[in-house]
Symmetry: C3
Subunit: 435 residues, 3 copies
Amino acid sequence: MRKLLNEWDREADGNTLYSIVRDLFPLCRSITGDGLRESFSYLGKYVDITLHEVPSGTRVFDWTVPREWNIRDAYIKNQRGERVVDFRSCNLHVLNYSVPVYAKMPLAELKQHIHTLPESPDWVPYRTSYYRDDWGFCMSHRQLSRLPDEEYEVCIDATLAAGHMTIGELRIQGRTNSEVIISAHSCHPSLCNDNLSGMAVATLLAQRLARLPLRYSYRFLWMPGTIGAIAWLALNESVVPRIKHGLVLSCLGDPGKFSYKRSRRGDSEIDQAVENLLFHSGREYQIFDFSPYGYDERQFCSPGFNLPVGCFMRTPNGRYPEYHTSADNLDFVTRDSLSESLRHLLEVVFILENNSRYLNLNPKCEPQLGRRGLYEQVGGKTQPRREEAMLWILNLSDGEHSLLDIAQRSGMPFPDLFSAAELLEEHRLLKKLEQ
Amino acid sequence: MRKLLNEWDREADGNTLYSIVRDLFPLCRSITGDGLRESFSYLGKYVDITLHEVPSGTRVFDWTVPREWNIRDAYIKNQRGERVVDFRSCNLHVLNYSVPVYAKMPLAELKQHIHTLPESPDWVPYRTSYYRDDWGFCMSHRQLSRLPDEEYEVCIDATLAAGHMTIGELRIQGRTNSEVIISAHSCHPSLCNDNLSGMAVATLLAQRLARLPLRYSYRFLWMPGTIGAIAWLALNESVVPRIKHGLVLSCLGDPGKFSYKRSRRGDSEIDQAVENLLFHSGREYQIFDFSPYGYDERQFCSPGFNLPVGCFMRTPNGRYPEYHTSADNLDFVTRDSLSESLRHLLEVVFILENNSRYLNLNPKCEPQLGRRGLYEQVGGKTQPRREEAMLWILNLSDGEHSLLDIAQRSGMPFPDLFSAAELLEEHRLLKKLEQ
Amino acid sequence: MRKLLNEWDREADGNTLYSIVRDLFPLCRSITGDGLRESFSYLGKYVDITLHEVPSGTRVFDWTVPREWNIRDAYIKNQRGERVVDFRSCNLHVLNYSVPVYAKMPLAELKQHIHTLPESPDWVPYRTSYYRDDWGFCMSHRQLSRLPDEEYEVCIDATLAAGHMTIGELRIQGRTNSEVIISAHSCHPSLCNDNLSGMAVATLLAQRLARLPLRYSYRFLWMPGTIGAIAWLALNESVVPRIKHGLVLSCLGDPGKFSYKRSRRGDSEIDQAVENLLFHSGREYQIFDFSPYGYDERQFCSPGFNLPVGCFMRTPNGRYPEYHTSADNLDFVTRDSLSESLRHLLEVVFILENNSRYLNLNPKCEPQLGRRGLYEQVGGKTQPRREEAMLWILNLSDGEHSLLDIAQRSGMPFPDLFSAAELLEEHRLLKKLEQ
């Protein structure tokens, strides 16, 4: 596993992640349709992704998979026949899932179908209407305010018809069938941080894990938000009992500090793992308690499942002004932020893979570390860090405490404790308990 | 129940509450006697109060109901026959429960029976001697210091004889026999905040509840402090197991911020209810942990009962200089403070009446709120408050969490959650669990 | 027990404690040998100490008792035959447990055996090499830097041979066989705070307890650090289940504030006792959570024992610059600090001896304290402290709470509560529960 961490290359990985985001940016994704399908196919360049097609009309718990939406073109033309709003230049211009429309109408009527952001007058908002038949355009408030009062021709050349909803999946078999799920919602059109960043980071993470012998099996899911997660859970209920840990990935490309939103349980192993990592990162970070709004942790943490799934982000949804606007573009995410996000996730995996309970084989008093060469030879000085780690592990390895529990109580970083545990195991002072 | 909150009228209720305080102020109450009896009869103008008469000598746990005390007149006359201290002008002038006395004595001897407040030289203290035969006068320190050194005639025309101790009670039958008790000590003579305010607020609260269909039965108790509560508990032990919640009311008329003293249990439902209310009041407030001194929560929370009874106040006993002095008078309490106290208590009742556990009938993933018209139609914007409330309830309604538990975890005010729960119930997404 | 506290004399006890430290200072202690033996014999002037001799080679858990070390003389002579380093002037000059050596060598070679403290250039460090055959000298960095580059004669006239390790012990039989252990490591040569202070304070504490009827039996242990504690535990495993509380004493003579390091359990009775004492001391103090480095609490709190043993100190090991240097000398410790440390320990014993669970014999409502003369006669004033203590005890004496639990919840000092409990017991309002 340590190899994994060493293989990470800040610059090269940053470039790769950014290129994935850049390549996927122009595609018009939605919760169904060819844009989504093509995005997943593109990821196939990096990982062995499997596409599942769920037919429109499929009942998934309280929901129904909607008709498939595809769009070819859309515009608003003025009286001179000029496209004043053009889908081809920015796919956010169309209310996502708009029904087809072709009509001429005066400005007043048109305005009832226009969405803008008066508080950010130069940005185009991102809006959707998946479950109510509607059509609309999104544009900058400044542009709207300058439109002359005349008749306009509006066209949305879209289809909404029986088809499928596509889910991308990759399962990596580990030594055990216990699973870690990593999920990234993939339904947003040209928005970089939310969530091309999550899609890209999940992809490279999957690529790295696929090369390695692993303790857990890992299941990566690229899915439409909400309906995708609900469908996957409905269609994979038998997998649920095997899920031991999980993370939802989103907003991993902006330059903000890292954020972690705890699982509903609040103190599950994944929560401990991410918090230990961030605590010792030497950087500012934020921890949020679970709340039932946000990303697909809403579904994984619904009371009928209550899975130990948290959400790993940099600046969270709704906390940056660019969120759900045309300003969440290729300038908003950076190579370095993406790369660091990948690094942190590799470290989380390192912790999960290596977090175990051990048994101190000499539980009465300390074993003599000195004669095994594990202890400073000349006594009387301040205790070095490695000795502290060994003593903490020996003291708390009563079968009750995992390495992460010991990390929490000792205030030490997980990797230091893990190295010390390996050393103690080598010297037959410690025995790893079967999981 | 919402009707109840709407009927509250800040100004009219403030006026009524103040008029009760004003009318009761001149009566010389004590733990027994006609002043107490008349005060309860006066409350009969507003509520259907029942008077219980407990005979002197009745054993109540470790205590005995004392002889009944009544007083007609009392004074200290100087050599010119002038009343320098006159019970008729302020009933605090007499040590409450003084034995009768008629004597002439020099100032030095008299002084052994005089109580003053040197630190507040213009105020008359309130002092009692219920259980040791004694007599005395209370006066301002300034007045005492100016009394010439001469002989004085002292007279306390009181009787201390077998009789009764009076307790006022009103029970309102609800749908269940589970009870909420509201108690206000009523034994203090001319003191407004402590505790005419509590007596008055309890009275109007009872008046409002009596009009309504209720879940709980409510028992209002106006009683002499300590001995009254002890007697009531001794004579009503069979009621005790039905008491689910309770509040002691006191000091509700001063302009200070609200205070709540938790029950001995510290985390009972009444504690959660009052704390949720105060937390969301948008105003400063104070929470105190239980301590075994204060008002009749001492008895309700004695270890043999350990009832979930807290104490609701504005400025607590002993924390304002006017406490137990003649300055706790009609100027110290305000109509608006009294009225707001009533309002807060109506809101506490609202919470108790509506706090339930619910079961999410779609526990696996979220139900589709949108197709039921419960969700913002155009997606992509910030979550509105009502949706947050619904999501919290759905997420935590696993049968373990009451609405108050959900309020605590979500940080939302109870009424918002209750409205959301009603809506979800209407839409058959939630089922209220039997209590 | 109160007598015990009254007999403490700040000045006289300070003088005695300091004289013990002063008399023991010159002896060259180690984990074995005559210096250790003589030190324990000296303590026999004050207490009836028993010396146990554990043979070299004895297996004690994972350890083996080492050969006995004795030293007669040691020096470094320059070319003019002058002793530039002389064991006779300061026994820290020799690496403790050095093998014998006699040789001539140039400065460069000698330097490989010299330990100094560059950051404190005038102090001689204290260094040991118990378990690896080595020899060495410790000296001030300044002196080392001035040594001319010439040939030196080095001599360590020591023996390392089969012998014994000595442990000093005193057991005081109380009414029960439940034990409190008090341990002080005794293996350091001329170092005053660490740990002649602990040895001396333990001695006077034992002397005082030996005179008294006690509830617990007390076992005092003066032992070499680590190997001594390990040997004692290995040879006395049958005693372990009787140990109810324990303290390791160290660093009790410096003028710093008091420190307490909690037992591994973190909330044992000894932890509560010391924390209550320090909280109400009116002085600054520090509490540390358990960590598996420090003194012999490491062994007592190893997972196979997990005894409720904390460590009582003034400035902890490693947190003062004089630690483990020649500056931890007779100037560093003060009579007053030593005396106060003894006083605090007497108070801890007072708490342990008197901490009990009681049963309120009138659990329903308060008993009438007034008619028993336990309550202020004239009502209406602020509650005095003694009444508060009685009310807390009555309220919480439901069989679940010890006096220390009540102290914690009420925020009152233990002695006030104990006095109140005695009074309530006298009046048959409270019954002490069998332990």
